[in-house]
Every structure is written in structure tokens, then in C-alpha cells.
């Protein structure tokens, strides 16, 4: 029954120094994947024994069971968890199917939250609200069909759970829900069912986690190329349900471009297309009811997606611009000429420094990385030095060697027109490394009165600069108004380019000393920042989704009629609201 997982090969394909750090920690760990909370933190990001902490000497350490002796794993106080509301009939019938389930407090708490700041903060404080009453682990499509049937029969609320990396409060259980809430954990549905080399497609179960999918495909010489920042933990089903975007979408496309066929189990039955044609003119694409449905209509069980041969060669690079405006102008030009490399990102000056602070040295990668961290936290966040006008864009180019070099030259030529100077591969790599450590950093921050979060939007080209400037300024002003005593960290980067616009990420953190309710302040600031984004012509979300966090803005985003259309679909597909996580609508 128990699935064993071997993590030694985990992320060996990565060349980012930081991710290497993560690998060190997890070398040769064997564990039950069933109980993920044994290796994953239930109250923070990532693996449970991987965390940053300040030791007595004032240095930051990255701890891990097998690396250092200090281990500190907070133990969940089970009595703080509400007694589960069990639907006896449902449990009895589940038992007869042989599908594993549990009502254990730890299992339930782990699946009752995503990774929004307020969720993590509450857990760290030991505050546990409404959590699922039960967890089930289907292992294939048919299991899901059975579970959904039983749920409908017994009027049980189902909440699908994939990687648990939601940042839109999508996994929070609605407190007003009186029925028994069952978390449907898809983690056991993690097989690649077949690979079709003629059509370059692979048929995969939706519970598979990003890094496993890539690793397995790599073994056969393929990849999907879909690499969201959360790919260490997020699942294929989750990507489909939230309209995810990967950093290399310029070559491979976003999730909606990658899927060929989706199978979803709904209370009305299974929805799927009859063939795998690359494009169809058969009315509105039913995939688009599923993509972004955020678990409100059913469970995605199997997906056929495009695969590509592994690239022969890939190269990182970076360019430094005299200012952010020039950087944006360069990205716009790159997008205009449609010569964007696999990934291209532009950080503002503050983030460039952040990345720089994490710069490893050849002699001792680890110490210098930590020194860097320390420098960053001490000088940049806590004291805030005056920034220099430096900005960094760092393209990743993929493909065959000659083409890559040619492509690289083209990008650098454009950059040069905008005053950009090539700044080497190291800086480029570091730019991507930041992506993966940022969530761990947040946990370290919280130990030192720092809370922070990132959020994203998409915006037309002509408004990129305006959105960046105004949102950053709004964050600073709101923090000041809400009584935050130290200047906050308010920074942004442009992470994706499209023909008509770009995706912009904001990072924001502040020191909450002296605030009685920091999370509330945080939420107010984030709310204000989102208002500002919308007022400046940005979208509600580029790829994080709406969840419950942003659903207040849905109506103005999609218009009344749009809301009505979505509602009527929900009403038809799930009339008794079995998939009752109340996201989106």
C-alpha cells in the first residue's frame, strides 16, 4: 500500500546553487509518501527539516536532519483541532471500496490550508480553524468516480487537494459548511500512464507533482517544459484547475497550450473530449470550463499533455540596465520581435540586490549563501539602504547549441540598444534561484518579525511601468498609514512577456514589531495593492487564480453576464454543491 519514494535523484538536474542546497538536505531520505506531513512542514513551506534559522552567533543557518544536528520540528497539538464531523454512511461505504482514508488530526490540518500568509501565520500561532473532517486517497480515475458517487449519495462536501501550494485561500474550508468535508488527496494518482512518441504526448494522472513529472519524462529524453515556481510541490491537476503558467512558457506555452485532453469527474459524470485532435471547432472549448475551475466543478483525474525532446543545450545570461524603464523597453522590444528566450525576467533594483545577497562563492557555497542572506536581511530589509539605479534582466535560452548562441546574440543586441550590459551567467542563475528559496525565506522572516508575500498580475505593455510604480508606492503608503514602523520592502519584477503585455510579480514584506494584528494589516495592504493593480489596468490574476482571496473582485472582472454564465455551469454540473470549496464565484 505504502508508496515509497526515493529522493536521491530528486533535483539533480538543477544547476541552480540554491536548489542544490535543498538537495543536500534531502539526500537518501526514504519515507511514506502517504503521510506527507512527515517530510513536509504542516505550518510552513517545504520539507519539514529544511528551514532557515538564526543561530546564537547571529548567522543564518539552513537546517536539515542529515546535515546538521539541530533539528526543530514543531509538533502539532492535536487537541487544538476540531473534532471531525463524520458522515457515518459515507465512511461505511468508503470502507467497502477499499480506498484508504483517515481522520487523523495531522492529516486533516495538513490539507486544510494553502500557503497564503494568513494561513501560515495562524498555524504558527497554533490557531486552527475549520479543517477537512476526513482525507481520502484515491489511486486511480475509477476510485475518484466511486468517491464522487458516494459523496453525492451521502451529501458530503468534497475538496480536491493536489500539491497544497495554493496562494488564493482556495484550500481553506468554508467555515459555514455544515456537511462533512472530505479532502480528496490526489497524491497517489501519480503515474505516467503512457508516452506517445509519434504525437509527442504523454498521458499522466493528475496527482503527479511537477518535479516528478519532469524527472520521469527526462529519463525518456522528454520534458513538458512546464515549470511554475512551485513545481517542487505543485501537481498537474492543480495546474489545470488554476490555469498555471510556467517560467519557460515562451517556448512550451502555458498549461492551456499544453493540454490536449482532460478527464474530469463531476457530480454529473465524467467530462472529456472524444479525440485528441490538436484543435477543434466544436463550440466553446469545454476545456476552458475545466481550466481555472479551481475545484468547484469536479476532480481532474487524467491529462494528456504535449511533451518535447529535452533541449541539447541551455544557457543562462543576464543583462544590467541603467534603470527599470529601459529594462521594460527592452523586454517590450524583445516581445515585439517575438524573439523572447525560454524565460526572460526583469527585476527591479531592490530585487537585484536581494539576488546578489544570495550569491555563492566557489570556496564554500553554503557559507557565502548564508552570509548573503544575512546581509540582505540586516541591511536591506531592516535598515533599507538607498538603492542604486541598477536593474537586471536574465534570459534563459534553450535549444540546440548554435541556435542558442545565435538567439542569445540577438537578445543581447536588443538589450544593448536600451543601454543594457551583459552581466554574465552567474547573475542569470541567481535570478532563478531566488524563485525557489523565496518561500523558505518567508518562514525565516516570520521568526524575526518579518512578514511578506508575493502576488502577481498581468498588464498591457503601455501600463507596465505605471503599474509597477503605483503599486509599489501604494504598498509603502498603506504600510505607513497602517502604522508599520519600518519602511517595507516593496519590489517587483516582470516575469513573463506576451505579444500585448507582461506578467508582473510584486514582493512585499514588512517588519511587524509593534503591530497588534500584523496579519490583518498585511491583508489590508494586500487588498489595497490589488485595488491599485485593478485601477491601473492590471488583471485580477495572471496564474495564481481567484480562490476565496480574490473572489470579491470577480464580478467586476468578468461582468454580470460572465458571472451568470459561470454560475449556470456550476448549477448544472454540481447542483448540490458537492464540490463546495466556494472558490471563484
Amino acid at each position: 500500500m505504502h508508496v515509497f519514494r526515493y529522493y536521491s535523484t530528486l533535483v539533480s538536474s538543477y544547476i541552480y546553487p540554491c536548489v542544490c542546497v535543498c538537495v543536500c538536505v534531502c539526500v537518501c531520505v526514504c519515507f511514506f509518501f502517504f503521510h506527507r506531513q512527515d517530510i513536509m512542514k504542516w505550518n510552513g513551506w517545504g520539507y519539514s527539516d529544511s528551514r532557515f534559522l538564526y543561530n546564537k552567533k547571529g548567522q543564518a543557518e539552513f537546517t536539515g536532519k542529515r546535515l546538521l544536528k539541530t533539528t526543530f520540528i514543531p509538533i502539532l497539538n492535536s487537541t487544538a483541532v476540531q473534532v471531525p464531523t463524520i458522515n457515518e454512511a459515507f465512511v461505511e461505504e468508503i470502507k467497502t471500496t477499499g480506498i484508504p482514508f483517515s481522520s487523523d488530526a495531522e492529516d486533516r490540518v495538513f490539507r486544510g490550508h494553502g500557503h497564503c500568509l494568513h494561513e501560515i501565520f495562524a498555524l504558527r500561532e497554533g490557531k486552527i480553524g475549520r479543517v477537512p473532517d476526513m482525507v481520502v486517497w484515491p489511486s486511480c480515475h475509477n476510485d475518484v468516480v466511486k468517491i464522487v458517487e458516494l459523496a453525492c449519495k451521502n451529501n458530503v462536501c468534497l475538496i480536491p487537494f493536489g500539491g497544497g501550494t495554493s496562494v488564493s485561500s482556495a484550500l481553506e474550508c468554508p467555515p459555514e459548511e455544515t456537511r462533512s468535508i472530505v479532502s480528496l488527496d490526489t497524491s497517489q494518482m501519480n503515474r505516467i500512464l503512457w508516452i506517445d512518441e509519434k504525437n509527442l504526448t504523454a498521458h499522466v494522472e493528475a496527482g503527479i507533482v511537477g518535479q516528478d513529472l519532469e524527472r520521469s519524462l527526462n529519463e525518456s529524453g522528454y520534458c513538458t517544459g512546464h515549470e511554475p515556481d512551485s513545481m517542487e510541490f505543485s501537481s498537474l491537476g492543480g495546474w489545470v484547475a488554476t490555469r498555471a503558467s510556467g517560467m519557460k512558457k515562451n517556448i512550451y506555452g502555458n498549461i492551456e497550450d499544453l493540454v490536449i485532453h482532460i478527464k474530469m469527474v463531476t457530480p454529473r459524470g465524467v467530462i472529456e473530449k472524444s479525440c485528441q485532435g490538436p484543435r477543434m471547432s466544436t463550440g466553446p472549448d469545454i476545456h476552458h470550463f475545466i481550466l481555472g475551475s479551481e475545484g468547484t466543478l469536479g476532480v481532474v483525474t487524467e491529462v494528456t499533455m504535449k511533451i518535447r525532446p529535452l533541449p541539447e543545450y541551455q544557457k543562462y545570461g543576464s543583462v544590467v540596465f541603467p534603470n527599470f524603464e529601459q529594462g521594460v523597453a527592452c523586454l517590450r522590444e524583445v516581445a515585439k520581435r517575438r524573439c523572447a528566450p525560454a524565460s526572460i525576467r526583469l527585476m527591479d533594483n531592490e530585487q537585484f540586490k536581494f539576488g546578489h545577497a544570495l550569491k555563492p562563492q566557489v570556496s564554500s557555497i553554503f557559507t557565502s549563501f548564508l552570509d548573503g542572506l544575512k546581509t540582505f536581511y540586516i541591511t536591506k530589509v531592516i535598515q533599507r539602504l538607498r538603492p542604486q539605479p541598477l536593474v537586471c534582466g536574465h534570459p534563459v535560452v534553450r535549444g540546440d547549441r548554435e541556435k542558442v548562441l545565435q538567439h542569445e546574440k540577438q537578445v543581447y543586441d536588443i538589450a544593448a540598444k536600451f543601454g543594457g550590459l551583459a552581466a554574465g551567467e552567474d547573475n542569470g542563475q541567481r535570478g532563478y534561484m531566488l524563485t525557489f528559496v523565496i518561500a523558505y525565506l518567508r518562514d525565516l522572516g516570520m521568526d524575526y518579525y518579518l512578514i511578506g508575500e508575493s502576488f502577481e498580475t498581468s498588464v498591457p505593455w503601455d501600463r507596465v511601468l505605471d503599474v509597477c510604480r503605483n503599486v509599489k508606492a501604494r504598498i509603502i503608503r498603506e504600510c505607513k498609514d497602517k502604522g508599520v514602523q519600518f519602511p517595507p520592502l516593496s519590489t517587483c519584477r516582470v516575469t513573463q512577456t506576451y505579444d500585448s503585455g507582461a506578467c508582473v510579480y510584486f514582493y512585499f514584506a514588512f517588519n511587524y514589531r509593534g503591530l497588534s494584528d500584523p496579519v490583518h494589516v498585511y491583508e489590508q495592504v494586500e487588498h489595497a495593492a490589488r485595488e491599485e493593480i485593478l485601477a491601473n489596468g492590471g488583471s485580477l490574476s495572471h496564474h495564481h487564480g481567484v480562490g476565496k482571496l480574490r473572489k470579491g473582485w470577480m464580478r467586476e472582472t468578468v461582468s454580470d453576464v460572465g458571472m451568470g454564465m459561470l454560475k449556470s455551469v456550476k448549477e448544472y454540473v454540481d447542483p448540490s454543491n458537492i464540490f463546495g470549496n466556494r472558490n471563484l464565484l
Binding site: D462, R463, D466, V467, R469, N470, A473, R474, L534, A535, N536, G537, E556
Partner: protein, 672 residues
């Protein structure tokens, strides 16, 4: 309704205001030359993108908006794009400022000399200067001074130069450009010139709005313009003009800057340089064309004493916080921002209300001198020829001083002097308007007596000159009293204690006088409550759920307040009477003022009119505007001319209502 709470129970007495510092004092004690040549290093906008005047012109001409409009106009009119491009660069050349520090230094030197002889002091609130400095650093700034004199913008630049603040670029009327040398000098001291009217000239509008927006967006300099659009000849604030304010708010509404600070500036003159000039203009002597030689002729004013000037830099108003919850900025995200679009209704209402609140902010910080109170009292005297005994005037002035302060007026009454000293020094300063003989104070009505044969009509006009000048000083205090005065008049006219009926009359009067005084649109209830609050606080009335009862000791205040508005009421009444009795079907808009004037002179000579003040063309024009707004008069375009079509029934009933012969029509939305 949101502002309601903010207004209703704020005691105007508790208004905090800054202290003043006299900038002329230092000029009297140190070298003007050294002052003019000193090191000038102002604080600039933090995100400033520096660019010189010619680069600015290029930016404007190459902007998306100008390009778009050129192609539009080209399609509409068939003119070539090159042709239009040339026209556009002609417009920019005609308009653009050429701010030069050397010119400003010259003005600083010359104006210091002139101001020292003209004025006792120029007082500036230094805290306001500090706030302004910070605002300039943080956000693009728009300076909004009140406009009472030609001097206003030179004075502003001089003050900013004195305090080492960024020099503004100033929107000036094209009429200044006629003054050859001076026009160019003004241009070099930061003025840019606008045509007074450019009708539907899309290209002109595009170039000009882009010019202002480019300066603001890049934070090149604070932009200064007059909300009132022109100098107020009557010292009353004028209904704000929205064009430039619309343009100035646009970069914020479209997200091109994080915020814009609007800084209302109140400039109050103890004695206005142009006082007689204005009065004559009101009476139909046309205003002399601005010319350089005219300016030199005006130099005889140098020998006169014009008292002091107070300049109060108000609290910077953030456009962002004004717009919070009022304007949905998403509306701008569906069309490219460079395509000119008519402002939506919510934006129009927002800009209009913002403009009113800014003018009110200017009014609030206008410094009132004792003379303002004296003028108000003198104009109310039973017989203008006989005047008031000095002692009585002093007593009344002291009483009014307290009332004015209680109503929140920013009164500068020198408390260290005895009341009679204060009164006599005020009378001395305004010796041209007022005489003291045999212990009585009266207006200098016979000053204008000319040699040679004088027709009775001319005599009436010349007697009106000092009255109208005097009224302009009283007008300085009108904003303090206007709401309580409207209420007092309403109580009188309604002749009942019933609160609802008084409110109806109040609402009627307020609506009628909306062109006359600064009364924010859609704020009738707030204004009513504010007036009730003030009158109740000062013990003039007692209020309960249904009634407003005038107290025994309140009659004096009530009388004073309603007498204050009487000239206006009589003026509107008599304009109505004229339209009913005299107006022919072919009365054109142009003929209106002269025709009313002839009618009024006849009435004044016959002794049926009490207030010579009604001869003011300003009042007549406002009355006509109100009647047009209320639909009692319509404009009919006929060939070249616009004639006025009078609805005699409506006008007649308005006249009767004003005279108290008819009850006021029920107010549409009385929510009390």
C-alpha cells in the same frame, strides 16, 4: 452624504492656522542685489526626469496624443499631416514657457524694489512653505492661487524664489502676450500662454493638454493656474473653471503618476491695486487693453500705500485621496490612454466637486482686514450720504469682529491696538473710498464729480463707483457669512418657524444664487446644517425637530445677515422685472447688460431702487446665468446673434418669490 459628518459638527472657531512671516522685512534690511543673485538650489521632485524647454516641446509634438489627433483632424478636414504638424509646432511655440533663472532674478530684484514702496508687508505662512516643499519632493504639484490682481503670479514666483522652492510654470491668458516686451519677460519667468477660447479646435486642445500633462508627469516644475479662470473683479471667488483642473488630474486618473498634490493658495490684499479700475469696469467703462505703455501709466500708483498682502499656502490636497471611492479608475483601461475621450459623468462630477472644495479651501484661508468689516457695516447704513457716527461704527465693528471669528473667518484684527485706532487706521488706508466729517463716516460719493456738464445718468454711475469698490471689500467676507445669511434670509422670507419650509426657501435661494457665491453642488443639506449649527452656536436661533426659532438676542445678527444679501436679492429681482417689463423679443445677449443698466439708472433716479450696487454688471450677468440655468430664459441662436427668449410667467413668479409675495416652490429633495 459622506462629507456630511465632516462638515456638520466641526467648529470653525477651532480651525488651526499657521503664523505669518513678513518677507519684505528682510528685503528692507539687506541688499536686493545680493538677494537677486544668491545661490538658488530648490528641492526637486524625487522622480524628476530632467528636460529643457526645447526637449519639452519635442516631447509634446511627438506624443501619441498629438499624433493621434493630427491623423484624426487630417481625415476630417483633408489637410495633410505635415501641414497639421506644422500648425501644432506653431501652437507649441506660441504657448511654451522659456523659464530662465536670470529673468526671475531680474524680477526678484525689480519687484522687491516696487513691493517695498507699495506694501507695508508681504506675509507668508512658513509652515505652508515647508509643506509645499515636501509636496514638491514627493509628487507633481499644482499650485492654485486665488486671483484678484495682475500681481498674483509674479508675487507667487517671487515668494517661491525667496524660499528656494521650485519655480512654477504658469498658465496665463493670451492677452498678456500683447504686451510685447513684458509678454516675453513673463514667458521667461515661467508663464505659458493659452488662448482664451479655442472652441472646438481639437488640435489646439491636444497640444495644450499634452503640454501641461508632460510637465506634470515628468515633474518638471509645479504647474500653476487660476481655478477661477480670470481675476475676480468683485473679490468674490468665482465659479471654478474645470478645463485645466481636468487636465491636471488626468495623469493621476490614468495611472501615469502615483499622486498629484493640489495646493490651494490664498492671496489677500488689504487694498487692491485695481480697485477703481474694477469698479469702472463693472459699470461699463471697458477695461483698457493690456499694453506696456499702460503699465507705465499705472506707475502713479507707486506713490500710494496699499497696506499688506497675506499669502497663505494651504494644506496640499492629494488627488488620490480626493478620488478614493469616487472615481472608478478602471474605466480608463479599455481604450488606449492617448485617445482623447469625453470624461464620464462620474469624473465630471468628481472634478467639479473637487474644484469647489478647492475654491472653498482658498476662501477659508483668505485673511480679512478690519476694513472688510467696516465696509460691510457702511454699506448697510440707512443712508449712504449721511454715513454713520464714528463711535457707532467702532462699536458695530467690534460686534462684527466677534461674529466673524465665531463663524470661522480668518480675521486679522490687531488686538494690541485700541479699537478706535484700528478703525481710524483702516479708514486712513482707504481714504479714497471713505471720508470722515463731523464725526461721521460716509462713503466718498462725490469724489468723482467732474468739471463740465454732467448728466444725471453719469452722476448715478459716478456715485456708484465707490459703492461698488466698497462692496468688493465686503465681498471678501461673504464666504464667512453666506450660509448663515441665506438661512437668515430664508427665515425672513418664509415668515414661519417651520424647519421644513425654511429649508425649502433656503434651498430655493441657494439654488438661485449658485452662480453668485461658492456653494458646492449637491451640498444643500450640508450647507443648511452648517448654517443651523453656526446660528445655534452663537445663540441666534434655537432648533428643535420641527422648528427654527429666532431668540430675542438673535435679532441683531439675523438683521445684519439678511441685510448683507439684500443688494443681491434686489439685484436679481430687478433683473427679473426688467425682463418682464422691458425686454423685447429681439434682445440679444450682447445688448443685455447695457439695456439692464439703462433700466436700472432710470429706477435709481426715480428713487425706487435702494442699492446702487445693483449696477454691477457682474451681478447682472450672474442673474442672467441663473435664469438661464433655471430655464426661465432661453438662448435662441439667430443668424449671427444669440438672442434671449424670456419665459415671462416663470420670471415673474421668481420676482414675486424673491419679493416674498409668493411662497417658495417645494424643494425637490428635502432630506432633513
Amino acid at each position: 452624504m459622506e462629507n456630511k459628518a465632516a462638515y456638520s459638527h466641526r467648529d470653525p472657531m477651532l480651525k488651526k492656522r499657521d503664523d505669518f512671516e513678513d518677507i519684505l522685512e528682510e528685503r528692507r534690511n539687506s541688499s536686493d542685489l545680493r538677494y537677486a543673485l544668491r545661490c538658488y538650489t530648490p528641492v526637486l521632485y524625487k522622480n524628476l526626469i530632467p528636460c529643457d524647454a526645447s526637449a519639452l516641446k519635442t516631447m509634446v509634438l511627438q506624443s501619441d496624443q498629438v499624433h493621434y489627433v493630427i491623423s484624426q483632424v487630417s481625415k476630417e478636414t483633408g489637410r495633410t499631416a505635415e501641414d497639421l504638424q506644422e500648425e501644432a509646432s506653431g501652437i507649441v511655440e506660441e504657448m511654451a514657457h522659456r523659464l530662465q533663472l536670470s529673468t526671475v532674478r531680474f524680477f526678484a530684484f525689480a519687484l522687491s524694489k516696487v513691493f517695498k514702496t507699495l506694501f507695508k508687508s508681504i506675509c507668508v505662512n512658513e509652515d505652508g512653505i515647508q509643506r509645499l516643499q515636501q509636496a514638491i519632493h514627493e509628487h507633481p504639484v499644482v499650485l492654485l492661487p486665488s486671483h484678484r490682481s495682475y500681481m498674483d503670479f509674479l508675487l507667487m514666483s517671487l515668494i517661491l524664489y525667496t524660499y528656494d522652492l521650485a519655480l512654477p510654470v504658469i498658465a496665463a491668458g493670451m492677452d498678456f502676450m500683447g504686451m510685447k516686451v513684458v509678454g516675453e519677460m513673463l514667458r521667461m519667468s515661467g508663464a505659458f500662454f493659452l488662448r482664451r477660447s479655442f472652441g472646438g479646435d481639437k488640435l489646439y486642445w491636444a497640444v495644450f493638454s499634452e503640454y501641461v500633462k508632460t510637465i506634470l508627469k515628468n515633474g518638471l516644475a509645479p504647474v500653476e493656474f487660476f481655478l477661477e479662470g480670470t481675476r475676480s473683479r468683485t473679490s468674490k471667488s468665482l465659479t471654478p473653471k474645470l478645463g485645466l483642473l481636468n487636465i491636471a488630474m488626468d495623469p493621476f486618473l490614468k495611472g501615469e503618476v502615483f499622486d498629484i498634490s493640489l495646493v490651494p493658495v490664498s492671496i489677500s490684499y488689504e487694498r487692491i491695486l485695481e480697485e477703481t479700475l474694477y469698479a469702472r469696469e463693472m459699470l461699463g467703462v471697458p477695461k483698457p487693453k493690456e499694453s506696456t505703455s499702460g503699465l507705465f501709466k499705472a506707475r502713479k500708483i507707486l506713490s500710494e500705500d496699499y497696506g499688506s498682502i497675506h499669502v497663505y499656502f494651504g494644506q496640499p490636497v492629494s488627488v488620490r485621496s480626493l478620488a478614493e471611492g469616487r472615481v472608478n479608475r478602471c474605466q480608463f483601461s479599455l481604450t488606449p490612454r492617448h485617445i482623447p475621450k469625453r470624461a464620464s459623468e462620474d469624473v465630471q462630477t468628481f472634478v467639479n466637486e473637487a474644484a469647489y472644495s478647492l475654491v472653498r479651501a482658498q476662501e477659508e484661508n483668505m485673511v480679512l482686514k478690519p476694513w472688510v468689516l467696516l465696509a460691510s457695516i457702511l454699506l448697510q447704513s440707512e443712508d449712504l450720504d449721511r454715513g454713520i457716527p464714528l463711535a457707532e461704527l467702532t462699536e458695530q465693528a467690534l460686534w462684527l469682529k466677534d461674529l466673524c471669528r465665531q463663524y470661522g473667518g480668518f480675521l486679522h484684527w490687531p488686538d494690541q491696538m485700541t479699537p478706535s485706532e484700528v478703525v481710524s487706521s483702516s479708514l486712513t488706508l482707504h481714504h479714497g473710498l471713505v471720508r470722515v466729517s463731523e464725526g461721521k463716516v460716509h462713503l466718498a460719493l462725490n469724489k468723482e464729480a467732474q468739471a463740465g456738464p454732467v448728466t444725471p445718468e453719469e452722476q448715478v454711475l459716478s456715485r456708484a463707483v465707490p459703492v461698488i469698490s466698497c462692496a468688493s471689500y465686503r465681498n471678501q467676507a461673504l464666504h464667512v457669512f453666506v450660509r448663515p445669511a441665506l438661512l437668515a434670509t430664508a427665515v425672513h422670507t418664509a415668515a414661519t418657524n417651520n424647519k421644513q419650509e425654511v429649508y425649502n426657501t433656503f434651498s430655493f435661494l441657494r439654488n438661485l444664487f449658485a452662480n453668485e457665491f461658492i456653494l458646492c453642488p449637491n451640498a444643500t443639506v450640508q450647507d443648511f446644517e452648517e448654517a443651523c449649527f453656526l446660528l445655534e452656536k452663537t445663540g441666534v436661533v434655537q432648533l428643535n425637530e420641527q422648528e427654527i426659532i429666532v431668540t430675542h438676542r438673535g435679532h441683531r445678527t439675523m438683521g445684519f445677515l439678511s441685510r448683507m444679501l439684500l443688494p443681491f436679492i434686489q439685484g436679481y429681482q430687478v433683473v427679473c422685472a426688467f425682463l418682464c417689463e422691458e425686454a423685447s423679443d429681439v434682445l440679444t445677449e450682447k445688448e443685455f447688460v447695457p439695456a439692464v443698466r439703462t433700466f436700472l439708472i432710470k429706477k435709481l433716479l426715480a428713487g425706487t431702487l435702494r442699492y446702487p450696487e445693483v449696477l454691477s454688471s457682474d451681478l447682472q450677468k450672474n442673474a442672467l446665468a441663473a435664469l438661464l440655468r433655471l430655464g426661465a430664459v432661453r438662448k435662441v441662436k439667430r443668424a449671427e446673434q444669440t438672442s434671449l427668449k424670456v419665459n415671462k410667467v416663470t420670471v415673474n413668479s421668481l420676482e414675486d418669490t424673491l419679493g416674498g409675495k409668493l411662497p417658495t416652490p417645494r424643494a425637490a429633495a428635502a432630506r432633513l
